[in-house]
């Protein structure tokens, strides 16, 4: 079975790596935006830990998904909240799990509807190494490869719990 670090270890790693990344790349006064919902929980932690001055942003990419025609629309979409101008702003974009890259693609599309950021840095707690698009994270907590019958389960926000759960192997349920 795939081994996963604890939540605290993962959070500490991305916190420290991100701090160095911000310093090395001269990202002055960056803003943090979490992708709804798991990404917001991780972003809340980083926002507090790195003492970011600008308020935390929430991004909900439901209206930008590329699988709307297959899956339909979910009612009660909590709207995105970006309480600062995006134009010329260094953005730290946070998601919990990076899988195909499609969520991040949708998030970038939505972000650019609000303005032209100076830069976007992608942070993810887990990278599942199964990208379908040329999108990769700049800061990663842990990079793992799951077995066919495994998937990541994240719950939160307090306490934030992450684990690998077994799912019955009954073929491809990706539809």
């Amino acid at each position: 079975m795939t081994q996963l670090s604890s939540v605290d270890q993962l959070l500490n790693k991305i916190e420290s790596d991100l701090s160095s990344y911000i310093h090395d790349h001269n990202l002055n006064d960056p803003a943090i935006i979490g992708i709804h919902t798991g990404g917001v929980w991780v972003a809340e932690h980083l926002h507090k830990a790195l003492d970011i001055k600008l308020p935390l942003g929430h991004l909900n990419i439901t209206f930008y998904r590329d699988d709307y025609s297959q899956k339909g629309l979910h009612p009660r979409v909590k709207p995105s909240q970006l309480p600062f101008p995006i134009e010329d702003q260094h953005i730290i974009l946070v998601d919990d799990v990076l899988m195909s890259g499609r969520t991040v693609r949708a998030a970038l599309n939505e972000l650019f509807d609000y303005g032209r950021p100076a830069s976007v840095t992608l942070v993810t707690l887990i990278d599942l190494q199964s990208r379908q698009l040329p999108i990769q994270a700049d800061v990663v907590g842990q990079s793992i490869k799951l077995a066919v019958n495994e998937r990541i389960k994240l719950s939160g926000p307090d306490p934030l719990v992450i684990g690998i759960e077994q799912v019955p192997d009954i073929g491809n349920l990706n539809t």
């Binding site: 439901t62 209206f63 930008y64 709307y68 025609s69 297959q70 899956k71 339909g72 629309l73 009612p75 009660r76 979409v77 909590k78 709207p79 995105s80 599309n109 509807d113 609000y114 303005g115 539809t175």
Partner: protein, 340 residues
């Protein structure tokens, strides 16, 4: 204009069952939006929730989302409309759809082309959705029964039958200000007989569970089936407005009146016009609504229309979000069926 060879009759007696079957796909999702009749409280609430999500889209720098990118929405307005057509157009454009506005009075139907031929032409151009406004009751139902199975049909007002998207934007306005529907007393004043808005609104209010729906109108403007509408009928504002939470005044639909319904507009204003003097009978925080276009000095006093309790412009604002919700839900109801 050539009269269409439609066999339109008043909505059938088993309209409830027919509407439900026609409007929903096998998973119970919306695929056409023709009538409030037959839709559940859960579905109406889902429309309102989805619309709420779209309200914030209008506040962004770029007011579009890509949900209906690559889809084509045809606005077929057989009857004149400014507000409804422009809000449907705006809603479709904000969902990134391509929009065709077809002005029927200058189109081929005026040269004798039948409605069915015209629809088949639009189908051949691969339109995905028709938004229909028509002077005959049942027109949108008729079209929904005859279009290709993967085209969604939205009723933007049919004769004096229903105007379901107007009712839903009124419901969103009420929910926005009053938070929920339970315990509300809602009064609808004026030309209820000719009003498709009133019919849809009464159905929606009762489905969503308000305490009481009142209609206040002269005998001549009372619908013949008022007894079956689950409303309380009042003849004058003094008794009808007492203690109400929401007041909707309707436009006098002179274009649909073919006989003497009223002595004069002045007389109507005197007895049924919503004026400051009668407003105090309602609750102090009662909402004032009007589906537009307003006849100031006929059904509503200017000071009331522009007053602090008026939410008439909120109705227009929410109209775009409600139509975005209905367009995207109906399109999703088509596509999710297709993949199954």
């Amino acid at each position: 204009m050539t009269k269409e060879p439609l066999q339109l009759s008043s909505p059938p007696t088993d309209a409830f069952t027919q509407s439900t079957q026609l409007q929903l796909n096998s998973q119970g999702q919306l695929r056409h939006f023709l009538s409030i009749n037959g839709l559940s409280k859960e579905l109406l609430t889902e429309i309102l929730d989805t619309a709420d999500s779209f309200v914030s889209v209008g506040n962004k720098t770029v007011k579009n989302v890509p949900l209906l990118r690559g889809k084509t929405v045809a606005n077929l307005f057989f009857e004149h409309s400014t507000r409804t057509r422009t809000t449907f157009e705006l809603a479709a454009k904000r969902l990134s759809a391509d929009v065709l506005n077809i002005n029927i009075s200058t189109s081929a139907t005026s040269k004798g082309e039948s409605l069915k031929d015209m629809l088949q032409n639009l189908e051949a151009m691969a339109c995905d959705m028709f938004v229909i406004r028509h002077a005959d009751s049942g027109a949108a139902h008729f079209i929904a029964q005859h279009v290709c199975p993967d085209i969604a049909v939205i009723n933007a007002g049919d004769g004096s039958h229903e105007h379901p998207t107007q009712a839903m934007l009124d419901m969103l306005t009420i929910r926005h200000h009053k938070k929920n529907f339970e315990g509300l007393k809602v009064a609808i004043i004026g030309d209820v007989l000719h009003s498709r808005v009133a019919r849809s609104e009464i159905l929606a209010l009762n489905t969503l569970g308000v305490e009481e729906v009142r209609i206040i109108c002269p005998n001549t403007l009372l619908p013949h089936d008022a007894d079956s509408l689950n409303v309380k009928v009042f003849r004058d504002l003094d008794s009808g407005l007492e203690d109400v939470d929401v007041i909707t005044t309707l436009r006098l639909q002179k274009e649909r009146m073919n006989s003497a319904f009223l002595p004069s507009e002045q007389e109507f204003y005197k007895r049924y016009g919503l004026k400051r003097s009668v407003l105090k009978l309602a609750k102090p925080d009662a909402l004032i609504m009007h589906p537009g276009p307003m006849n100031r000095g006929v059904e509503i006093e200017s000071e009331v229309a522009d007053g602090a309790q008026s939410v008439i412009l909120d109705q227009v604002h929410f109209g775009v979000a409600v139509r975005m919700a209905i367009l995207s839900m109906a399109m999703s109801g088509q596509t999710t069926t297709k993949t199954l």
